[in-house]
Symmetry: C2
Subunit: 156 residues, 2 copies
């Protein structure tokens, strides 16, 4: 998308920026909090699937299906507003997000699309038995890792 800035528009943008700084800061805080909330809900719902796959908890078709359905819903939330420009680790101490997110937004968006696909694939089979769940978990976990590896500070 190309944005043409006329002199008038530039003046307006400057005025807007001046008036909007506190609001923008609030928006950034809200966006960081919201995306971290989405990640919390991802973890909360991947947890039972991993637990069943590993045998830590007994396979439960209803729980597996509910968790997979929930993952789909979390992935389908509008994630676009989560990633306010500049809300990365070099500017804030409350995030592990890397600047790379804004350097290659198309690739970043493709990782979310992969997650949605993987969550959808898990949703199709999660209630069909432990083996089916285990068969899809690598793909789902891979879609998490593919994004974290490139766009989040390493836990190492």
């Amino acid at each position: 998308m190309k944005i043409r800035l006329s002199t008038l528009a530039l003046a307006a943008a400057t005025l807007t920026l001046g008036a909007a700084l506190p609001a923008a800061a609030q928006d950034a805080d809200s966006a960081v909090e919201a995306r971290q909330s989405a990640m919390t809900l991802m973890a909360f719902n991947i947890g039972p699937l991993v637990g069943m796959a590993r045998g830590d908890i007994e396979y439960d078709a209803e729980l597996a299906q509910a968790a997979a359905d929930s993952l789909v819903h979390v992935s389908m939330i509008d994630h676009g507003r989560f990633w306010v420009e500049g809300t990365h680790i070099e500017n804030r101490d409350d995030t592990e997000a890397l600047p790379a997110i804004w350097e290659d937004p198309e690739d970043f968006a493709s990782k979310l699309a992969d997650l949605r696909d993987a969550a959808g694939a898990m949703q199709e089979v999660a209630g069909d038995g432990l083996a089916a769940l285990q068969g899809e978990l690598r793909n789902l976990g891979g879609s998490c890792g593919a994004c974290h590896d490139n766009y989040r500070v390493s836990d190492d």
Copy 2:
């Protein structure tokens, strides 16, 4: 070999019993964190709708629709596991949830159903103009308030 395994099994069982309490506490912590994350995402997506309805921000059909779609998805997450027995304000200092939630679980569940209905109704019209959005917002806000009034500590 058999004796060794049995000894190990007994040791494992003892460890498991010993570890069970912290695990349950961890589940409760995760549930509280997850439900608060869902509420954060609700607020993050109701925010733009309220802002537009009040005229604080300009009506934007695409944003309104994305926010309403997101509300539906958050409402459709499995909320059942959020409400671990006893995770209320009398037992924890990190929640505003009232014991009443577990005293009338059917009514509590009906409030979530009402929220889902209200979010779905907003989803139907959010992109159809400001007047349509404003027309549904009272219903949506009412569904939030109906639950908070009965099951969350008053902000007053």
